[in-house]
């Protein structure tokens, strides 16, 4: 995400939203990293069954919150506790990202899902149940409700100038702001990895056997 965003907030008012709901399994057959956006929340968003690669216009479910025009340009998703629990599928984050979501706010997230968010520049923010409750009320009351997220200062600012601080791991913050690549970071320590590996090979040689028939 950009270090500072001011964007419309869309609400998903349901606890324990799993990654199967965020992106159903039939779309995991793709070998690509993109092309998941139209299938976000597929079973909730459309009235018919979705399949990979279909091009027909699909009937939208008018009862699904993200189909309301007021949330069309939302970049912040307001969620309930344990959002993104279940399967490790990173595709769920790709689908959110392709729909323009840069940040998610919830009392808590699934561990693997939150991890996957950071790897894709999507910021998962934990706020208290009370603060999240208040935001749900505000979003419902005010069409076009926007929040400003300032990552360097670790704050969320509401339209009525209330400032909600949030906590983020220092290194993860740095990765997001500097667009730091973790693989490059690890490779910069290649020598240390090699040294560790040779010690380990001596201590536990059975972990270095190669397998054949």
């Amino acid at each position: 995400m950009d270090p500072e965003i001011t964007a419309i907030v869309a609400p998903i008012d349901r606890i324990d939203v799993d990654t199967d709901a965020i992106l159903p399994k039939q779309f995991l057959r793709s070998i690509e990293k993109t092309g998941y956006g139209t299938y976000l929340f597929d079973e909730w968003r459309y009235l018919d069954h979705g399949e990979l690669g279909e091009t027909k216009v699909r009937p939208l479910n008018p009862d699904f919150v993200l189909n309301q025009p007021r949330y069309a340009d939302a970049e912040i998703l307001l969620c309930r506790r344990n959002f993104g629990c279940g399967s490790a599928r990173e595709h769920a984050v790709w689908a959110l990202h392709e729909n323009g979501f840069q940040a998610l706010i919830a009392p808590s997230f699934g561990d693997i899902f939150a991890n996957n968010c950071y790897k894709n520049g999507v910021l998962p923010i934990n706020l208290s149940e009370e603060d999240v409750d208040r935001l749900f009320v505000a979003v419902a009351l005010h069409p076009g409700y926007k929040l400003t997220i300032d990552l360097p200062r670790q704050t969320i600012q509401t339209p009525d100038e209330k400032v909600l601080p949030f906590v983020i791991d220092t290194f993860r913050k740095r990765c997001l702001i500097e667009n730091l690549n973790e693989i490059s970071y690890a490779l910069a320590h290649s020598q240390k990895i090699r040294e560790f590996e040779s010690r380990r090979r001596a201590e536990a040689p059975w972990l270095f056997n190669s397998f054949s028939e």
Binding site: R14, I15, D16, D18, D20, A21, K25, Q26, L28, R29, S30, I31, E32, K33, E43, H49, L52, G53, R80, R81, N82, C85, G86, S87, A88, R89, E90, H91, S108, G110, D111, I112, N115, N116, K119, D169, T170, F171, E182, I183, Y185, A186, L187, H189, S190, K192, I193, F196, E197, R200, E203, A204, P205, W206, L207, F208, N209, S210, F211, S212
Partner: protein, 472 residues
């Protein structure tokens, strides 16, 4: 200072740790499958890199393979591309692959332990959340996303942070007719679906020591259903006996050296956990899930809960939505729930003991007239072979079950094995989320014995009433 099992595993894999920063953790074993590997291999290719240590990786096709007519190949063109891509990527990168016709093929979390690829004291990762399974062998194992799969392929390390530790102490013994799956479902209910977040959970106590390795793996497998990425069980004689003689287990002098090292991988007396939860195994009853998250479960003798009794407003609204989706009403006796399909398999309950337990119930009996499909999908090709050597395939076939080839199958319904809208299924798998086994499908998670009993009766029944009575 006394250390927990998690502390020992973590400490022994630190390559580099920055002050107030993440740790570069060494990964001993990386399991790959077709669904979370195409993108990472493409990433490696684009970056002009090669795997850091090819022989630390083992790949197999499991999530999306057909479980019938396998000799005809994969008929779905999109799935075929994905499975062929795995083959191509393994060939290009010199990685050992068990393709769907290989005798060693199966679900990654069944195959790792059964071949001796999963060993105590190691770190093991896989792009799949049920990687927690392998922790039953005293390994630090957790699921990762696609980006991390690429990181492990490229560097053999993960940049990660230390978890908090939780001990789930399970004293007492399971009553006759109560299975490890029932214990597992009651642990998930006790902790709740999010209760383990941020923790590595170690299972200890008399009841855990008494479990077989298969039973232990059922328990650690579903640790992620309580929100924890890793489940752990300390090494004991059961662990060592299980590994001894496995295809890729260390042999000869390496074996002696390894066993000596492995015995250290248990929590020291007096080690302190960040949280402790206690459970009495003696009170556990056969269980079923009734709702759309794995902690919505009840005992077989109970009625379905009243949402009005749920104090938390959001939980109450999820209950109401779950009742609507599941087509059920509060206060219904569990035994009145009728079924359409029965699925026996998955990385939770697709092991030989699971098939034996189910076969014992169905022997000499037949599935009820209202059951449209009852299928057994062994967790691996080797489990299938073992079961056939024991004649279990005949028992199942004679009872009206289909006997399939191994794979993830209807646990996640990526292939053609799925529920149709509105169909109700007794499933030995791990997730009952909306649409998990097929859009509109209704999943009830149960043990293999309970699934078998439900198949015979056409509705849920207390399996203890059937045990001991012969069907033939």
């Amino acid at each position: 200072m006394p250390r927990t099992l998690y502390d020992k595993l973590w400490d022994s894999h630190i390559v580099y740790a920055e002050d107030d920063g993440p740790t570069l953790l060494y990964i001993d074993r990386h399991l790959l499958h077709e669904v979370s590997s195409a993108q990472p291999f493409q990433g490696i290719r684009q970056a002009g890199r090669t795997p850091w240590r090819a022989d630390a990786n083992i790949a197999m096709a499991d999530h999306n393979v057909p479980t019938v007519n396998r000799k005809n190949g994969v008929t779905d063109p999109i799935s075929l591309v994905q499975i062929e891509m795995l083959t191509r990527n393994c060939e290009e990168n010199d990685i050992l692959l068990f393709d769907m016709n290989d005798r060693r093929q199966g679900i990654v979390h069944v195959v790792g332990p059964e071949l001796g690829l999963t060993l105590p004291g190691m770190t093991l990762v896989c792009g799949d959340s049920h990687t927690s399974t392998h922790g039953a062998l005293g390994a630090l194992a957790f699921g990762i996303g696609v980006s991390e799969v690429e990181a492990v392929l490229t560097t053999q390390c993960l940049l990660t942070t230390r978890l908090k530790t939780m001990l789930v102490q399970i004293d007492g013994s399971l009553q006759p007719g109560v299975t490890p799956k029932d214990l597992t479902l009651s642990v998930v209910r006790k902790l709740s679906i999010g209760g383990g977040k941020g923790y590595a959970i170690e299972f200890g106590g008399e009841a855990v020591r008494e479990l077989s390795m298969e039973g232990r793996m059922t328990l650690t497998n579903m640790t992620i259903e309580a929100g924890a990425r890793s489940g752990l069980i300390g090494v004991d004689a059961t662990t060592i006996d299980y590994i001894d003689g496995r295809l890729y287990a260390p042999k000869g002098s390496q074996w002696d050296m390894a066993v000596k090292a492995w015995k250290e991988f248990r929590t020291d007396e007096g080690a302190v956990f960040d949280a402790t939860v206690a459970l009495d195994a003696g009170t556990v009853q056969p269980m079923i899930t009734w709702g759309t998250v794995p902690d919505m479960s009840v005992n077989i003798g109970d009625r379905l809960p009243d949402p009005g009794d749920e104090p938390d407003k959001q939980r109450r609204s999820l209950f109401e939505r779950a009742y609507e989706y599941m087509g059920l009403k509060p206060n219904t006796p569990v035994t009145e729930i009728k079924l359409d399909k029965v699925f026996l398999g998955s990385c939770t309950n697709g092991r030989i003991e699971d098939l034996r337990a189910a076969a014992k119930i169905v022997k000499g009996r037949h599935i009820a007239a209202n059951i449209k499909l009852a299928m057994v999908v062994p967790g691996s090709t080797m489990v299938k072979k073992q079961a056939e050597e024991e004649g279990l395939d005949h028992v199942f076939r004679e009872a009206g079950f289909e006997w399939r080839d191994s794979g993830c199958s209807m646990c996640l319904a990526m292939n053609n094995d799925r529920l149709e809208p509105g169909e109700r299924c007794a499933s030995t798998s791990n997730r009952n989320f909306e649409g998990r086994q097929g859009q509109g499908g209704r999943t009830h998670l149960v043990s293999p014995a309970m699934a078998a009993a439900a198949a015979v009766e056409g509705h849920f029944v207390d399996v203890r009433e059937m045990e001991g009575k012969s069907g033939s």
